[in-house]
């Protein structure tokens, strides 16, 4: 006899709201937009995760955090990494953007410009609003930052360096 009561996909999505991004805990994996799909089939739950960056060292941690969160809800939890569809920073939800801002990170520019055929399309945008003072004179200090998904900016108005979640 089963010890699990039937759950719905909605309940799984709601539960995943509790799982934070290990590198930026202010945002959940759901609001980060990395959950591609949730499927409930009887006592089996399948979750597909799209990495933000291929080399992100947190992917394994996120998969096990998701597995752990759902472990009491279904007999079998299958968490997979997929590239069938590619994560883009445009998938970050409005709530996710608000949470990023509140935690001192500038959300990525949206929509991300499409990849052109040109060899050097410039995907870097100037004048990102400062997450602290909303100043518009910010400048990019480095398109690379402390993690693969973050770029470093400086705001001359409030003299504050800050990080932006990269548009990708």
């Amino acid at each position: 006899m089963s010890t699990f009561t039937a759950i719905t996909e909605r309940e799984v999505w709601d539960a995943l709201q509790d799982v934070p991004d290990p590198e930026i805990p202010a945002i959940s994996v759901v609001d980060l937009g990395i959950i591609r799909m949730v499927e409930v089939d009887g006592e089996r739950v399948t979750v597909e995760i799209m990495p933000t960056f291929i080399g992100c060292p947190a992917i394994g941690i996120m998969c096990s955090d998701v597995r752990e969160r759902l472990s009491g809800m279904a007999a079998e939890v299958d968490v997979r990494v997929t590239y069938t569809e590619q994560w883009s920073s445009d998938r970050i939800t409005e709530r996710g953007r608000e949470n990023l801002r509140a935690a001192g990170y500038a959300p990525p520019v949206t929509p991300v410009p499409p990849l052109g055929d040109s060899l050097f399309p410039l995907a870097l945008h100037p004048n990102i609003p400062c997450p602290f003072c909303d100043g518009r004179h910010t400048r990019m200090e480095n398109p690379f930052g402390p993690t693969l998904c973050r770029a470093i900016f400086y705001c001359p108005d409030c003299k504050q360096p800050f990080e932006q979640f990269k548009a990708v």
Partner: protein, 261 residues
């Protein structure tokens, strides 16, 4: 590390299908440029470049792992066995990537040549009939945009400073050019890969496209680029500089063969 996978059967690593061979060239290129890039962590000319090189190295090694995982799904050989379990001469990276990192001008000239060549290659492979590869490459291209912007910025910076900076960069471009052509060396089983659409275009065509795109920039830099297109498949692992890097990057793996991390 993954349990239940083969880790020591060298014959499985060296004998493979044309698809496996293609994946191995892509993975080995990314792995080795990634490891050379890590050599700048802590000693780059400026702090921002320290961060940039470390970040790009993490990207490249991550891309290598993704290619090795795809390969592993075909052969059952563990990704780590490909990355760290082979003899130096078994690596299939282009000879451009065998060179030691050298000074900053050499590092940037090599990155410039490699990233532009890789961009042409990835744009083509995004149309591969082998869907898992096309999907992965689509994601990779978005990340590589940042690398392209980085090398383009340095290209302009070197050119804007006549004298030693510009001269050293130009000399590095000229010196590395013949080995850069090796990125587009013919692949083992290329005819087969072209026939089923795994490879949408021949390597010679990609090389011509890359060269035509790059020529105006190379002319501006005053780099004299001569050299004949490679006619043999790559054997970058035989580069004498690579022995040192191979020893460094496989040290942990060799310290406890078969260990689970």
């Amino acid at each position: 590390m993954t349990t239940g996978m083969k880790t020591t059967d060298s014959s499985l690593i060296t004998h493979h299908s044309s698809l496996a061979s293609l994946l191995l060239t892509l993975a080995d290129d990314e792995l080795v440029i990634g490891y050379w890039d890590t050599e700048w962590t802590g000693i780059a000319p400026v702090l921002e470049e320290d961060v940039a090189m470390s970040s790009m190295a993490q990207d490249e090694i991550g891309h290598a792992l993704a290619f090795y995982e795809l390969l592993s799904s075909l052969t059952g050989v563990a990704p780590d066995a490909y990355a760290y379990g082979r003899r130096p001469d078994e690596y299939r990276f282009a000879s451009l990537l065998g060179h030691a990192r050298g000074d900053w001008a050499i590092t940037m000239a090599r990155r410039y040549l490699y990233e532009t060549a890789d961009a042409v290659r990835l744009a083509s492979l995004e149309r591969s009939s082998y869907q898992p590869l096309a999907d992965l490459v689509a994601k990779m291209r978005r990340e590589e945009q940042y690398h392209l912007t980085h090398v383009q910025t340095w290209f302009e910076r070197f050119l804007a400073h006549p004298g030693q900076p510009r001269d050293r960069f130009t000399a590095a471009l000229t010196g590395l050019w013949p080995d850069a052509l090796d990125v587009f060396a013919p692949l083992d089983g290329e005819d087969e890969l072209l026939a089923d659409g795994t490879l949408p275009e021949p390597m010679t065509e990609l090389r011509a496209r890359w060269q035509a795109m790059l020529q105006p920039s190379l002319d501006r830099a005053g780099a004299s680029v001569t050299g004949s297109a490679p006619t043999e498949p790559r054997r970058g692992g035989a580069h004498p500089d690579f022995a040192w890097l191979h020893n460094e990057m496989t040290m942990v793996y060799r310290s406890q063969p078969g260990a689970e991390w």
